[in-house]
């Protein structure tokens, strides 16, 4: 007992600790989230390894510079950690986890060989479908390496069916088309189907953004580092994204960075299946989608044609069926319209799925909790990073969310011109949702001087709008330096966002989100409660406080539904209904008689009847409105209404009459409802009145002839005895009432239906029960015999039923007062307090356990922390001075300039490229011939060869 007492005392403190505790993900969840893998991937095995890459394609011998450069790259070796999942082989380097990241789909592996190595005990040579080779050299004990290889071998066998679908999948890849056209020399190959931009032109001017030069750079990267399902991500990969992805490649890069490519490969045919299964169906989401189709990106010409509208309709409709918890939210149409310019329908669909699940969870939910939470986080960032501006915003009562809400919801598609919004999206898919915060902060910082002169929301909005409309203009038009004059406002925005605000990290955002999550959720729940209470049906017997209590109990009972997130079903099933009523209805509370199976069955039957009566839509579930309407009838103050309602519960066919079977069931229902008073757990008004009368009589008697002392002694004894006596009397009265009810039912039913004669085969069970009733009342045997006549069935209509109920004082009182008093809709607060205390205790226990687990995990991760110290030191300092900013701008300018000249040179030499291609083809043929004898020899010599061809 002392342990629980101390726990109870500590409950408030433990509750506070639970608030400050940050939630953690499991190792597999972190792994999936970081590399955007599908949900069914988990780490089967991981080990330390060194990895190097070799491409199958080499340049001609005529260019010694490139050969030397490539030779150096080929020899480069990365040291890090290798992970194996059911469908992927993932490698990341140990330095900063971003110098070399390989996410390899096992289906792309063509062959795995054990490779002889002098410096390592165990090494593998993996050959991909493209001909590239990955050399994996294991570090550590040989046993673990062998174990890893065994599991890899097993996975290779299991992925045979997937590998067969690889060629069809690769046909949708533009990078594959690019390689096939320029290296393999296939002239008859067709361009894979892509977004609407193929026909309606991509936004922006191709010459202005150096489309061809960028395409060449990406081509070189893919040739050296692999592509689509087998790409190696290096710092060069990220640099090319920052420079700008060419429009033709944009869809594939977005798909690759977001993990939608893995989802599409793992769920082939899912998109078409969803559309086919739900064709022709309607829902509220589809109605809303139809309203917004022509209002997505009206300035893009494709969305004024039926083709563009149909693609948009398909993707949004498919997603609303796949994720009914979200359905459709305005702003999704704008984002998907942006996707479809660069992506096919299926690509856009999976990209939208990963966007809603991974990048911006909760943004488009029914309550938009993710958006509200990120607005709050953004405001806290503004407060921390730009205190002067934040002070000004507070002083002038400007609503920051008026401006920033569209930025976050539509990912800048509605704010910026389209060609700049897609550049932001390139970096968004690479870095995650922190990109939104960084760009938003940069916009405010760049316009801070102008904003500090605005005095209301309208001026504030106008300043930001003007800035977005002039992004293409020079940021320093008056500068004497020509380089500064060439810098556009958009480039300045990118520099400010991703250099100055690079300190905004995913961990920082996660921490801030958790900090404000509770407040946001409470606001959402309060708003939802107020909204739903406003839309309640009219009630005559329930006050607003009662409605509030019912609302709280309703959603407490439904544990699967989360108000703040808007997920789960908001309807109540029958099992939950039983628990719900047992909280406040005396007749439905658990009691000792529940041990009796027969009684439990009767109870369930009655509650099922009540449940079906309240289910207005006949869907097997109750909505909040159904519950409120039903309770309103149950607690009516009108005696006749209560009797009518009880009658209608058993009049299932609605003809206004009850047959013999229904009368018997009704009698059982009455017995069930009056059980608490029969067993003596509660006392009704009649018993109370009788007790008072008896006490008064006793007092009179005693005062008649005894002294005061004797009176005091006698009274307690009398009360004690009378209590037991009165309970017995009450029980007898209710039993007698039930018996009289049956007797009167059949007595009065006879008079009504004398004219009707229907042949009826009487059941022996019914006859037996009726005979038992006769035995109890032998004096009435003659009348009862008349009721038992099988050739004359009896029915009871509503007036007769009402008369029978009113004839008995006990039942009249029950329907007029006792039943209504037994439904305690106004006592919820106490129950809630108890639950809250218990929840605090359990939360405290959980928090305690979590803290211990966190400490253990922290110690386990100490080894990893040492390796990350180097990366922490190499991170640029948060406080960047103005001089540093200038230097960074200058560096960025050099970055563009240095890229410009090689691009020009390459463009000038493009005509020579085809000749080089011919030479490469012949060289490759020679290589293939010389390669075969080596493989044959190695297969003969090595008995432990692991060879597996797709």
């Amino acid at each position: 007992m002392s342990f629980f007492d101390s726990l109870r005392q500590k409950a408030p403190f433990l509750d506070k600790l639970a608030d400050s505790f940050t939630p953690t993900l499991t190792r597999d969840e972190k792994f999936r989230l970081k590399y955007k893998l599908p949900a069914n991937e988990n780490i089967l095995e991981d080990t330390n390894a060194e990895v190097s890459f070799a491409t199958s394609i080499k340049d001609g011998k005529g260019h010694s510079d490139r050969v030397n450069n490539k030779g150096r790259k080929t020899a480069y070796v990365y040291s890090g950690r290798l992970f194996l999942t059911p469908h992927f082989l993932v490698f990341r380097d140990a330095f900063d986890h971003s110098s070399c990241v390989l996410i390899l789909n096992i289906s792309t592996i063509k062959r795995v060989e054990r490779s002889p190595s002098e410096s390592y005990e165990f090494a593998l040579l993996v050959t991909l479908y493209t001909g590239a080779k990955v050399l994996i050299q294991f570090i550590g004990i040989r046993y673990r390496s062998e174990q890893f290889c065994d599991k890899l071998k097993l996975n290779l066998k299991e992925n045979i069916p997937n590998a067969k679908t690889l060629p069809a999948f690769l046909e949708t890849s533009y990078s594959e088309f690019l390689i096939a056209k320029n290296i393999l020399g296939k002239k008859d190959i067709t361009v894979p189907r892509a977004g609407l931009g193929q026909h309606f032109k991509y936004p922006g001017n191709p010459t202005m953004v150096k489309e061809k030069a960028k395409l060449r750079l990406w081509f070189d990267y893919f040739r050296e580092n692999g592509r689509n399902l087998a790409v190696v991500q290096t710092p060069m990969f990220r640099k090319l994204i920052r420079i700008g992805v060419p429009n033709r490649m944009r869809g594939e890069i977005w798909e690759l960075c977001s993990g939608a490519m893995y989802m599409r490969y793992a769920n082939s045919g899912e998109y078409e299946r969803i559309l086919n299964e739900n064709a022709g169906k309607t829902s509220q989401a589809i109605d809303e989608i139809e309203k917004d189709l022509k209002r997505s990106l009206p300035e893009y010409s494709a969305y004024q044609t039926e083709e563009g509208i149909q693609r948009l309709r398909n993707v949004l409709t498919a997603y609303s069926w796949k994720n009914p918890d979200v359905g459709y939210c305005q702003a999704m149409n704008i984002v998907v319209a942006g996707f479809l310019i660069f992506m096919s329908e299926e690509q856009a669909f999976w990209c939208l799925c990963n966007l809603c699940d991974i990048y911006v969870p909760g943004y488009y939910s029914k309550t938009m909790y993710g958006t509200l939470l990120d607005q709050r986080v953004f405001e806290s960032f503004v407060e921390d990073r730009m205190p002067v501006l934040w002070e000004y915003i507070l002083q002038h009562d400007i609503q920051l969310s008026v401006v920033s809400l569209p930025w976050f919801l539509s990912l800048f598609f509605t704010s910026m011109p389209l060609e700049y919004a897609v550049r932001i999206m390139d970096i968004f898919f690479m870095n995650g949702s922190i990109t939104l915060f960084q760009v938003a902060l940069a916009v405010l910082k760049i316009n801070a001087d102008d904003i500090l002169q605005a005095d209301d929301d309208g001026m504030f909005i106008a300043i930001i709008k003007h800035y977005f409309q002039t992004l293409g203009q020079s940021a320093h038009p008056d500068s004497s330096d020509i380089k500064y004059r060439q810098i556009t406002k958009f480039q300045e925005l990118l520099v400010t966002a991703f250099k100055e605000f690079s300190v905004i990290s995913e961990e920082m955002a996660m921490h801030a989100r958790h900090k404000y999550e509770k407040g946001i959720f409470q606001n959402i729940e309060t708003f939802m409660k107020r909204t739903q209470l406003r839309h309640m049906p009219k009630t005559f017997n329930l006050s607003s406080d009662d409605l509030s209590n019912i609302y709280d109990m309703f959603y407490q009972s439904i544990e699967t539904y989360k108000i703040s997130m808007g997920t789960g079903s908001s309807n109540m099933g029958f099992e939950v209904f039983i628990q719900f009523l047992s909280k406040f209805c005396d007749s439905c509370r658990p009691c000792e008689k529940d041990k009796d199976p027969a009684f439990r069955k009767q109870k369930r039957n009655f509650l099922q009847r009540l449940f079906d009566n309240w289910d207005s839509a006949h869907i097997g579930e109750l909505t909040l409105n159904d519950v409120v309407t039903g309770l309103d009838k149950l607690v009516t103050v009108d005696l006749l209404q209560a009797i009518n309602y009880f009658f209608s519960l058993y009049d299932t066919d609605g003809d206004g009459e009850l047959h013999r079977e229904e009368v018997l069931q009704l009698s059982e229902g009455l017995l069930l409802l009056t059980e608490p008073w029969k067993s003596g757990r509660y006392v009704d008004l009649l018993t109370k009145k009788r007790i008072e009368d008896d006490i008064a009589e006793n007092i009179i008697k005693e005062s008649g002839g005894e002294i005061a002392t004797m009176n005091q002694i006698e009274l307690p004894t009398g009360v004690t005895i009378d209590e037991e006596k009165y309970k017995v009397e009450q029980a007898e009265r209710y039993l007698k009432a039930a018996s009289n009810f049956l007797q009167r039912s059949f007595e009065y039913a006879k008079a009504v239906d004398l004219a009707e004669e229907v042949n009826l085969i009487d059941l022996s069970d019914d006859e037996g029960e009726e005979k038992r009733t006769v035995k109890q009342k032998q004096l009435e045997s003659i009348k009862a015999n008349a009721a038992l006549d099988p050739t004359h069935p009896k029915v009871i209509d509503l007036p007769t039923f009402r008369m029978i109920i009113l004839a008995d004082e006990t039942y009249e009182l029950f329907f007029s007062n006792t039943l209504r008093s037994s439904v305690h809709v106004d006592e919820h607060v106490n129950i809630d307090n108890k639950n809250k205390v218990l929840r605090s205790m359990f939360d405290g226990i959980l928090a305690d356990g979590k803290r211990v687990a966190e400490q253990v995990r922290r110690r386990v991760d100490s080894v990893a922390t040492r390796s990350s110290i180097a990366s922490v030191e190499s991170t640029p300092t948060a406080a960047a001075s103005s001089i540093t900013t200038k230097e960074e701008k200058y560096d960025d300018l050099d970055d563009f300039t240095s890229e410009h000249q090689p691009e020009n040179e390459e463009l000038l030499q493009s005509s020579w490229f085809e000749i080089d291609d011919a030479n490469e083809t012949s060289t490759k043929a020679i290589q293939e011939r010389s390669f075969e004898p080596l493989s044959a020899n190695s297969s003969e010599e090595k008995s432990n060869l692991i060879e597996f061809e797709a």
């Binding site: 305005q330 938009m368 009562d397 008026v402 106008a462 300043i463 708003f527």
Partner: protein, 417 residues
């Protein structure tokens, strides 16, 4: 005598002008007046001379004519120099209603930022010509090409949607670049359609959007701040906290071809507004009911009887009096503008605006009194006309604008109520 054209006093709120002064609008109006065509300039100048010293337009109390404004300012400074307007007052109009009823289009129509098909086609053609010139000049020196690229770059990126002023032809040329090169077939298709038809191409409103317009009413300047809201239901929790603060008028918007949007005005939007108004703001707020899309009269689902019924029901249930109910169409020229002007005039007459002038500290009733005196001092007849019109407005409680009476009005369709 033809009716004088009125130009929108749409002052661009650029960062260089954080707070507009009384002199700045006058200068802007002069430039707008100069930008007008010579014919309209001559026609607008002649009646002024004809009327001699008459300052006010006998037709309407709201004037946005630069020349009249100039004369009015001069006359005002001559007659009474004691009360000089330093800052314009604020009028906040809040448009709420279901999604897709046309709230954004109404605001753009009021600010005259909706294009006709002919204007759009002309912009596309200009864009095509500029591209052709660019190709020809590409053969010249690199420096010249670079300069042209910069110039073209600046023009192209100045705007990317339809919220810019339509008078700036260069902006139109730039914003239609995404439409691609119009070929001969496209031109023919455009010519087949009605060139004067207004094209409504708005996008879904995400959250809240604010547009500001400066209006001159009898030599007083008012900042009309129009708040556009998202209509989808799940947005309400995201935008409500900032919505109803200091609101002077709530415009309940519905679509006459969608009875459901009309029903939700009473069942959802009015209830939500009453819940979120503070008791102090509610005293100064007025409610208006506006039905949109009367150009689709063949698909009408909301009748005048329904409107009258709802107005009475709102009075009974919520104690709210609808100050006016209108029906408009963004496809017809000037219809939305006239309706908005009536609403703004009603607000000004009832003192439902926020006075930003710190020097003049007067109560609402005093301001109305002064307003009345101004009317009396200048011209007696327009004041009587205004009073008579207000009386008529209260009597009918319905203003049906089924047929626009502008010179350029589209008379091809007749609406039967």
């Amino acid at each position: 005598m033809s009716q004088r054209k009125r130009y929108s006093l749409n002052v661009v709120t650029s960062p260089s002008i954080p707070s507009p002064t009384p002199s700045a609008p006058i200068r802007t109006n002069e430039s707008n007046w100069e930008a007008a065509s010579p014919a309209s300039a001559a026609s607008s100048f002649l009646p002024n001379v004809h009327h001699g010293g008459t300052v006010l337009n006998p037709g309407l109390g709201i004037m946005r004519s630069p020349s009249l404004n100039k004369s009015g300012a001069f006359g005002r400074s001559g007659s009474s120099g004691s009360s000089t307007v330093i800052e314009p007052s604020n009028i906040k109009l809040l448009l709420i209603g279901d999604a897709n009823v046309g709230k954004t289009a109404m605001i753009l129509s009021y600010c005259r930022e909706l294009l006709t098909r002919a204007e759009m086609s002309r912009s596309a053609r200009l864009r095509h010509q500029q591209q052709q010139q660019h190709k020809d000049l590409g053969l010249k020196k690199t420096v010249v090409n670079h300069r042209l690229s910069m110039k073209e770059k600046r023009k192209r990126y100045s705007s990317n949607d339809f919220e810019k002023e339509f008078k700036d032809i260069n902006h139109f040329a730039d914003e239609t670049s995404d439409f691609g090169n119009p070929n001969i077939g496209d031109d023919n298709n455009h010519e087949m359609a009605d060139p004067n038809e207004i094209v409504i191409e708005t996008r879904s409103t995400i959250g809240i959007d604010i547009k500001t317009n400066l209006v001159n009413i009898d030599n007083r300047f008012f900042n009309v701040i129009l708040w556009d809201t998202a209509g989808q239901e799940r947005y309400q929790n995201a935008i409500i906290p900032s919505l109803y603060k200091k609101t002077n008028a709530v415009i309940l918007t519905y679509d006459i071809t969608n009875a459901k949007s009309f029903q939700s005005c009473m069942e959802r939007w009015i209830v939500q507004a009453l819940e979120n108004f503070s008791s102090q703001d509610l005293l100064k707020a007025r409610f208006f009911l506006v039905g949109n899309k009367i150009d689709l009269y063949k698909e009408r689902q909301v009748t005048h009887y329904d409107v009258v019924q709802m107005v009475q029901e709102m009075q009974l249930k919520h104690g709210i009096k609808i100050s006016g109910n209108f029906e408009v169409s963004c496809k017809w020229v000037n219809v939305v503008e006239r309706t908005m002007n009536m609403i703004i005039l009603d607000l000004v007459e009832n003192g439902c605006f926020e006075n930003n002038d710190p020097c003049v500290s007067i109560t609402t009733s005093d301001d109305v009194q002064g307003h009345e005196q101004e009317f009396h001092d200048t011209v007696e007849e327009p004041f009587n006309f205004t009073r008579q019109r207000q009386h008529q407005l209260e009597k009918n409680n319905t203003v049906d604008i089924t047929k626009p009476n502008d010179d350029i009005a589209n008379n091809q369709s007749i609406c039967c109520v």
